[in-house]
Amino acid sequence: MDLDHVLLYPEGKSLLTCIQCGVCSATCPQEAFMEYPPRKIVAMLKAGLIDEVVQSGSMLKCVSCYSCQAKCPRQIRLTDLLFPLIRGRMFEGGGIPAELQKAFLDVQRYGNPLGRSTSERSDWVARSKVPIRILADRPGPVDLLWNVECYPSYHPRGQAVALATARLFHRLGLDFAILGSEERCIGDCAGYFGEFGLLDALIEQNLTTFRKYDFRRVVTSGAHAFNVFAHHYPGYGFTTPVEPVVGLIGEELPKLRPMLKTSVPHKVTYHDPCCLGRCMGASALRCYFAPPRKLLEAIPGLKYVEMAHHHENSLCCGGGGGGMWLDTYYRDQGMDRLSERVVKEAVAAGADVLAVTCDYEVSRFEDAVKVLGYDRKIVVRDVLELLDESAGGEAAV
């Protein structure tokens, strides 16, 4: 499907049912900075003003948060279909900021947007106190294929979360393995920014790798890869069940609970990532609002507090749809960083820990904490890190 012919397809035809109610624009966290907010864009596309929409750059500011799509009374597929199509058109005429282009080029070349060597993808494993099986070294059947993802593989803070995850899997006696240097980006930013050729190539490459091994289920670290697994991989015939780590650990809570002995005496709030919550709801799939909260509440000494925006109304961290690589562009445009808004809300709720489950968020929110000068007020931890700490951390494996 392309933008010129969008109205010929059933998914695109839904555009014609728009009643111009403006709910999409009203709920959009970036609306104030868009020349054409979502409602206007729909009207313009219906009127054939495609080039004007593409050239305005308004869609560069969309962070694929799914607010508009989740709330549209006509269930028009704005976030996951229409807006990526518009952005895909931007590749033809330039206008895509260099930092985002670099991320795409790095994904093309190295299978990760950080521009790091494929051979270094599993370097973090050497620091693990618990055994982590790499399938290329030890093939053979395994229950869980753990898709570690790019940030947990390469980013220092992500690696800390990956190590905590491995310890939890080990404590729970799960039979798991990783792909190591064979693992590649699942395709989040490519899919949501409209680089469909790259998404297609990544899916084909990943499925070729998956076919080499014998596993029953996939568990994936963060929210974005899970979203792509849920929405794009079935179309390529991939039907193996996929769970986000926080969902899997949530199911294992009865087994984990007796191990949570160390008190974590903090006031903790939780940020619902768009791609495990609202986004799933918009697609009539299972949302993951409850598991992280249940897990946090199982930690002794921890007091849970809710932020003003939560569940389907949670504020986006601003990292989706390519936003992760547009911070400089956003600053040049004089835009607020959404991650700073979330951190302010967390502090206002009285929390001294902001808990997350999305692979982009630890680093995004930690940056925001530093920019705001809130270092002494709040820290950012992954839910899995808090669970691991309560289970005794590295000393207890």
Binding site: L105, R109, Y110, S117, S119, G197, D200
Partner: protein, 259 residues
């Protein structure tokens, strides 16, 4: 207007590169070759010229691993023609002089008003390629350029170069001309994956065999090794106030700030 872009494939520094102890050369199995950044800028500058003047852009590289992908990518970005020079030789980091001769020979057979190449490359830190090539062809050469504006009417070009310290100089030269590009006027564009694939399928890249050129390298690679970490650094420890205080003392001791 015919613009020719010469692109060089160099080891990707993001991948772990190893030196083979026995031969003292880079280990071929650890090398992933990609077009050098300045050459990507040369291509971008050529594409900008094409957009402004309707020039024909011919991209050339040698048949090293990855050279074909570099050419498909260049076509996907908008280059008119793509040539793969076959010489059937493995990667050699010391053959800039030979490469200049090969390109000089090739250019005898293709029209060129402007020849753009990266100002430098990791295996050509002195930026010899453009200069040697220009000498071979008897053409003028300008390097470290940040903008090239050819004029078909007067058959000349205005070239802006970077002098350092924020200074720029502007040259005017007759064409044909060889230019070493430092950076393009806008960052190199991104080629969407589908278009790279389409360029691959279009079979628009052409191979040209260039006869081996007799070349006697005057420079020999004696040894290759990773940079050795220096010992000069002193780590300051303590509270931010203590560290800042100590830093001021050191700067004053070295008379870098007033005491």
């Amino acid at each position: 207007m015919d613009v020719v872009v010469l692109m060089k494939m160099v080891p990707d520094a993001a991948q772990k590169i190893e030196v083979d102890a026995a031969s003292g050369q880079l280990k071929a199995s650890t090398l992933n070759l990609i077009p050098f950044e300045s050459d990507e800028h040369a291509l971008e500058e050529a594409l900008l010229i094409k957009e402004r003047t309707g020039a024909t852009v011919t991209v050339v590289t040698t048949d090293l691993p990855g050279g074909d992908v570099a050419l498909w990518t260049a076509l996907a970005k908008g280059a008119t023609h793509a040539l793969l020079v076959t010489r059937g030789r493995p990667y050699e980091p010391r053959s800039t002089g030979e490469l200049a001769r090969i390109y000089a020979k090739l250019l005898e057979t293709i029209p060129h008003d402007l020849v753009l190449t990266g100002a430098q490359a990791p295996d050509d830190v002195e930026g010899e390629l453009g200069a040697l090539l220009a000498a071979q062809l008897g053409l003028p050469y300008i390097s470290v350029a940040v903008a090239v504006r050819p004029d078909e009417g007067t058959h000349s070009a205005e070239v802006t170069t970077e002098l350092g310290g924020g200074l720029r100089s502007v040259y005017e030269s007759a064409l044909p001309l060889v230019v070493g590009i430092q950076t393009s006027e806008t960052p190199p564009r991104y080629a969407p994956f589908l278009q790279i694939r389409a360029a691959q399928r279009s079979k628009r890249t052409r191979s040209v065999a260039v006869e081996p050129v007799p070349f006697d390298p005057k420079v020999e690679v004696v040894a290759l090794h990773k940079p050795v970490a220096g010992k000069g650094a002193t780590m300051l420890e303590g509270s931010p106030e203590e560290v800042a205080g100590r830093l001021v003392e050191i700067l004053a001791e070295k008379e870098l700030v007033g005491g």
